[in-house]
Symmetry: C2
Subunit: 382 residues, 2 copies
């Protein structure tokens, strides 16, 4: 037997309380029992998204379904949108926008840089008639945190521009004040900060986003927001919901509420800080820049002379600790430690210890124990 540790930025570990809910007998979705559970889930999601003004809609899909829904529901063919991208998921938003025939104004940055809100302001000035700004808050591929609060303040000045925020690995890990920051569409997926298995996605829709919807002519059916909104008013869903995941969601939301969303985010900040300090104490270099590091995942450069894929493989095979490698051009060049969702301090200690043993085996030179010591210092508030 080898104990397993899932330290990836999604799917993330699921608490036993939530897993057991998945084993509950099936109930029908057109019943008062399900409606009550569903409305409880919507209410809990509003708490997590920190919104009262926006609607929250839930799909049976992965996060990409929610991404696609934001394009198909807000725009018309030929509409111009500003896509900010500094990672794989920003790239994906650009691809979806192009598939739907939008004119993409491409704000592309290296994966190691944050999006500069001033560039968004300039792009909006230079391109009158733009209908949307699209940004990834927490880039899973790079660990970069983009400042959606500042971008929100800029976009708010433009009554015809909706701000779409992919916060799939942000929600629950970093601060995301949907109403206060003026974010029109915010999305997340179940297998992230919500501590569920994959299969659910959720989006918030502001009044401004509903105005964009009314104008939109792009084809949509399964992801048609209005169908979800109309059914929400009847406490149900337009299509068969993923019943067991909705029931599990309530269990997870109960845990989040008990801890309090501010405390959940503070816990993520502490775990991320310990991971970063621990890695730096081993002489490793962090991938994301100091001015924008998220709490969901810590990407780390593979040190010179070490085989990056071997790090991931030994961690998994020898120690049972699954971390993620780099994506696209960074495959083999970085590794990524996830600490999003159901994570505590000793998960970070475990991962750093496995990393120390793995790096030692691969001939990398460093002071053994230094990583743990640095993480402990963070946890002790030193």
């Amino acid at each position: 037997m080898q104990k397993k540790y899932l330290m990836t930025p999604g799917p993330t570990p699921v608490p036993a309380e939530v897993l057991l809910t998945q084993a509950a007998p099936m109930i029908h979705h057109r019943t008062p029992d399900f409606s009550a559970a569903f409305m409880e889930a919507i209410d809990g999601l509003k708490y997590v998204f920190q919104t009262e003004a926006s609607d929250v809609l839930v799909f049976a899909s992965s996060g990409t379904g929610a991404m696609e829904s934001s394009i198909a529901n807000c725009f018309c063919p030929g509409d111009s949108v500003i896509v900010c991208r500094n990672g794989k998921f920003g790239d994906r938003m650009k691809q979806i926008a192009e598939v739907y025939g939008l004119n993409v104004i491409d704000l592309a940055y290296p994966w190691t840089q944050v999006v500069d809100p001033a560039d968004v302001a300039t792009a909006l000035e230079e391109n009158p008639g733009v209908r949307g700004v699209i940004v990834t808050q927490s880039e899973t591929s790079s660990g970069v945190l983009n400042d959606v609060e500042k971008i929100g303040a800029i976009v708010r000045e433009h009554p015809d521009v909706v701000l779409i925020v992919d916060s799939i690995t942000g929600i629950g890990a970093v601060e995301c004040k949907t109403d206060e920051w003026g974010l029109d569409v915010v999305m997340t997926g179940s297998q992230k900060g919500l501590m569920l298995p994959p299969g659910l996605a959720a989006v918030t829709v502001s009044e401004k986003a509903w105005r964009a919807y009314e104008r939109s002519t792009l084809p949509k059916f399964y992801f048609d927001w209005k169908k979800y909104k109309k059914n929400l008013e009847k406490q149900t869903t337009p299509f068969t919901p993923a019943v067991s995941l909705i029931l599990g969601l309530n269990e997870a939301l109960k845990m989040i509420r008990e801890e309090g969303i501010e405390n959940v985010i503070a816990r993520h900040a502490r775990l991320a800080e310990a991971t970063r300090k621990g890695c730096e104490a081993l002489g490793l270099k962090l991938f994301a820049p100091p001015e924008g590091r998220g709490n969901a995942v810590t990407p780390v450069w593979v040190p010179e002379g070490v085989d990056g894929k071997a790090i991931v493989k030994i961690m998994k095979d020898k120690y049972g600790v699954t971390i993620a490698g780099g994506q696209d051009e960074y495959a083999g060049k970085i590794f990524r430690v996830g600490h999003l969702g159901y994570f505590g301090e000793f998960d970070i200690i475990t991962t750093l210890a496995a990393l120390e043993m793995t790096l030692a085996e691969l001939g990398y030179e460093f002071e053994r124990g230094a990583g743990i010591r640095a993480a402990e210092a963070v946890f002790m508030g030193a």
Copy 2:
């Protein structure tokens, strides 16, 4: 405590073996462990769909996602398609086709009639250039079974026409020979004959359907078939799969294989026959016509003078037996007993007994016990 019985055509009861699998710890989807489970699931689905020639693609979505995918992946704006419809889900296919700007040649029948294959042949002759024929094999709303074998033989003569079959409540309940009958796209959903919670959908894609794909210009991303096919070749999925449902699927597929697909279908035929005979013995009238009755669900006319909604309500509240009411214009006029998936003979006995007690309470006159007697006769092969 009240024991609960879920007798609806979806979600359907989930075997405890499958439910427990949902409670397994989360694993990452980009791992050999998941790939092995995923390919086993694809292989099992091919067995259930009775196809070797077609690809089988799996989405995290409800069945409607698979329906939408068949439109978005096979056609171009303005394409003409023949939509056969005799129920709510045929109507839905027409709606989706219209949302995507197709020209719908509408073969509409009353919900109590089967689609006449001769009408399909005529429509194909009268409308050269048609690109698709769309038909619901097993209508959940009406219990009608359409003859997709005969329609397949007709469409096969037209090299540029794809045949799209919604078999969401057909697969596992009625015979559906994808390859042998020349069905280009066949779809199902997890919460039906596959005995899973809702959240997964699957489609088969024939070579002819892939040719349609190559021509298609409609926008798609999350449901883009090619992305799934490309990733299938690498034993994975383009977007995060619903991991726990895939693991549960293998458990369910193992049960289906052990019974044998022919026996599974024969069991459904027996349960449907017993339900029909039982209801008729109570003097009730069946909704679907004798020439086309599916095995997934038995819709029954509410007898004159009885409150249809009260039947469903008393069955559920007093006896714990959840059946379905009628949909759209048949709300309150029919009730529907599901027997699709994890069902055995005594589930039918239970339902008929609850129905007898309910009808008696509502003042309907009939010979008590006659329904059970008729069902027993079917089970005893009399």
